[in-house]
Each structure stands twice: as C-alpha cells, then as structure tokens.
C-alpha cells in the first residue's frame, strides 16, 4: 500500500485496520513497512475517502490543538484519500493475489485463497469414498506467512505421500509437485495466508497428520488446518476416530455440503458410461 505523504494528515485511522499491523504514525504521518505489508488493500477498502483538502484538515487540527482539543474523525474514514493500492510487479504481485479476496489469481484465474474443496463435491466427485482432503492454511489467523515456510510444510507433506491439488494457487508455484519444492523467486514473499491443499487416504492419514505436526514446529507462523471427506451413506464422518487417535480434535463447527447440486457426480458418470456404451 502506498500512503501519499502530501495528503496524509496523520489521523491514524489506518493503523488499527491494517491486517498485518505494519502501519504506524511517524512524524505526524502514516507510514507502511513495505517489507511486511501483504498488499491486502484492507485499509484502502475499509476507510471511506472523505476527499477533504489536506491543508484545510491540517489547519483545523492545528487550530483545535491551540484550544487543547483533538481532531477525531470517525474510525472508518481516510479524511483526505491518502491511501492508494500500488501497481505491483512479479513476484510482489503474489502478495495481493493471495491476500486480497477481491483479486483473482493470475495463475488459476479464481479468487480467494484455495479451490472449491468439498463445496461442489456432490457434482464434481473430487473426493470419493476413502479419499481425505487436507488443507493447511499458513499465516491464518492474522499473522501472515512467507512462501519459504509454505515450502517447508509442502515438502513435509510430500514426503508423507500426499497428492497436491492441481488447481490450487500454491500448487501452481511448485516446480516439483512430487517434493513440494516452490519457485525460488517467490520464497521471500509474504502473504496474509496461503493454503496447501492435498489429498491422501484413510490408511495414510495418521502419517500425514504426524508430518503436518512436525512441520508446524519448524516454521515462523501458524497453520489453521482442516480435514474433509465425503460422508458415509448414513451421513457419518469417516475420519473421526482416526483424527482423535492421531491426537487432533475436530472443531464443533464444520462446513457441510448438503448434496443438493445437480447433476450428481454419480449421475454424470452413469450418463458418460451410457454414452460410451452406445458409441
């Protein structure tokens, strides 16, 4: 993020809304620690531009100060519109793609941090009975992550035999999907969070979870981990016991796909088989 030093009046409203806590007021003006900024644009989107003349606002502040009063704008405005998202070049452009949910990834063409996961599993059949989907979101909640830490975790999971999801934006940055190695030119980039998405099966789940836990001890940030699967025919959860035995606890809340999508994966497969048989 760029803060126009000619416009900034140092009200400080951008300081608390900064997702990474990297804006500070120095010498009466807000400044961004560019090395730590993830280009999420939260400050720009959240603070309404009031469009006031900076000179007038400074004069007002000075005048009020003479009477021991303070200029105190509402907390959701930038009085002078001093914030401007900069045009970013590769690899810094990755920061915005991974951090600003309104921006689409140049690699996958989709927005957000990951893929559809189980959200359309009823029609895509992405996870079949026995498949386990695992998501490791580095940097969440609220700390941010560098790709060098993502590579450490990806390598650990690859060694445990997972298959990385092809359309995930982190997978796109891998130069070797069998080892989890990422492009070297992105390793120092920092993002709000990034999701490693992979697949394993019930038999290998304990080994994969153990690898994830070990890798988590070797990084500088946090991992919000998640696990997904197609439910059993009666709606029960196939991995519940294995997760518990592996020393993890399932959250009380979950994301549930209701199975209302059409055509169902099985219907599409049956149709494809019928067409193939007719040909």
């Amino acid at each position: 993020m760029k803060i126009d030093q000619n416009k900034c009046v140092g009200c400080g409203n951008c300081v608390p809304v900064c997702s990474m806590g990297v804006i500070s007021v120095v010498g009466g003006k807000s400044r961004v620690n560019e090395e730590e900024c993830v280009e999420c644009n939260t400050c720009y989107r959240t603070l309404r531009n009031e469009g006031y003349n900076p000179t007038l606002v400074r004069l007002l502040r000075w005048t009020l100060k003479q009477f021991h009063l303070a200029y105190d704008p509402p907390p959701d405005v930038c009085p002078t519109g001093a914030l401007t998202p900069p045009r970013l070049e590769w690899p810094r452009s990755l920061r915005a793609e991974f951090s600003d949910p309104t921006i689409k990834h140049s690699t996958t063409g989709t927005g957000g941090r990951g893929t559809s996961e189980i959200k359309s599993n009823d029609v895509t059949g992405r996870l079949q009975a026995g498949d386990i989907g695992l998501v490791a979101e580095l940097g969440r909640p609220g700390l941010g992550a560098r790709f060098r830490d993502l590579e450490k975790v990806a390598k650990a999971l690859a060694a445990a035999g997972v298959r990385f999801e092809a359309n995930n934006p982190v997978t796109y940055l891998m130069t070797d999907k069998s080892t989890g190695t990422l492009r070297q030119d992105v390793l120092n980039e920092k993002v709000m969070s990034a999701i490693i998405e992979c697949r394993t099966d019930l038999a290998h789940l304990p080994e994969v979870l153990a690898a994830l836990r070990r890798a988590a001890g070797e990084i500088e940030t946090v991992i919000s981990a998640g696990i997904a699967a197609r439910c059993n025919a009666d709606g029960s959860v196939p991995f519940a016991d294995l997760v518990r035995e592996s020393g993890f606890t399932l959250s009380p809340n979950a994301k549930t796909n209701l199975g209302l999508g059409r055509p169902l994966y099985e219907e599409r497969q049956a149709l494809a088989s019928a067409v193939a048989g007719r040909d």
Partner: protein, 209 residues
C-alpha cells in the same frame, strides 16, 4: 469459503453462528447461475440474516442490498448469508430444497445442529470439512477474546488491532457494542462476519474488564 471454517469460540457462542451459500461448479452447472443466486439471496434476506456478502460488498458497505444483487453475474464470487437463528436456517433449507436450484448448497455452522436441521428436512449430508485447530507458533497469537472476533472473517480482513481498538472503545463508552460490531464488519467483504455474535462478544469483553 474455507474462510468460514476456522471460527473460534465456545460451543454456546458458535451455536448461533451459521453461514449458508451456493457454490456452482465450473463446466457443470455454472451457466445461468446468476438468476439462481439472486433468488437465493432474496430468499435469505426474507429470513432475516445478520449479514450477507459477495462481490466485494457486504450488508454494511453496500449502499443498499439491491446494488449487491444487481452486481451478481454468472462469474460472481460466492454470495453468502450469515444467520444467528438456527430456525431461520431450517426454514431456508426447506425453501432451497423445494426450489431445487441444482447448485451445491453449503452451510458452515455447528456440525451437530446443522445435521439435525438437515435430517429434519430429509437430507443426509454429502460431504463435510472440519477445522483441526491451529498449529505452529501459537504463542504469537492474541488473546482468545480477540481471536473470537477476528476469526469471523476468515480472509483475515478484520485485524487483531482493530478488534482490540473496538473493545477499548466500547469499554471507554465511546461506542456501543453494536456500533463497534458494525465497524468490525466493514472489512469482511464476504459478509461472513456475524454482527450479532460480535456484539455479544464485545459486550462480554466489557463485562469481564
């Protein structure tokens, strides 16, 4: 919407926190989804959501919800509606089942309560995703009080410092808990931030002070 997966809080607090959304599949049922999404959103609005969002707007940043609806097209990002009342979710599920949009429907919320709601409507859940919690350098994280607020925006748009400031403003009597909750809801572009729950958490934070 992995952004709705890792919400933190007590089971009692999470029991009043639901997000529901349609999710089309590219190449399968995405064509023509805009009209279905608009109908879904209108149905959701009739059931009294605490927030809705998508297209970079939420209930508290869109000038009016018609602007949000009008912007929906077949390529739109997911449109979500957030509820505090499980009975509103039950009614909406019944209406969505009857409407038969043919688009995948997902609910984030307490797994047991959601399962009960689905079974009451004759639905057996298809797939499920749980959080396994937070690993790694957890000592760098703020207090649970702050995390319960900020994890309601899974994209991390609600900063820890913003939550701390709003807690302080409520404690000082400069803002009501509802006003502070509205300020916190602004950065969450998906509309997954539950305003009712935020208000409760902020009020509780003041009680504990």
């Amino acid at each position: 919407m992995t952004n709705t997966l890792h919400r933190q809080g007590t089971p009692e607090s999470l029991a009043r926190d639901f997000i529901i959304f349609l999710h089309p599949a590219r190449g399968i049922n995405r064509d023509g989804v805009a009209e279905k999404t608009k109908r879904f959103l209108r149905m959701a609005l009739e059931e009294g959501p605490v927030n809705v969002g998508g297209q970079g707007l939420n209930l508290y940043t869109a000038d009016n919800v018609e602007l949000l609806i009008g912007n929906i097209n077949d390529e739109s990002s997911t449109i979500a509606a957030t509820f505090s009342d499980p009975e509103a979710i039950r009614r909406l599920v019944a209406r969505l089942k009857k409407a038969d949009f043919g688009i995948s429907v997902n609910i984030s919320g307490p797994a047991d309560i959601v399962d009960d709601i689905l079974r009451s409507q004759g639905i057996v859940r298809h797939s499920i995703e749980f959080s396994l919690g937070v690993l790694g350098r957890t000592e760098r994280l703020p207090t649970r009080q702050v995390l319960e607020l900020t994890t309601m925006c899974g994209h991390g748009m609600v900063s820890h410092n913003h939550a701390r400031k709003m807690i302080d403003q409520v404690k000082l009597g400069k803002l009501t808990a509802r006003q502070a909750a509205r300020y916190l809801a602004r950065p969450c572009v998906c509309g997954a931030f539950n305003l009712d729950r935020a208000e409760e958490l902020l009020a509780k934070a003041v009680e504990m002070a």
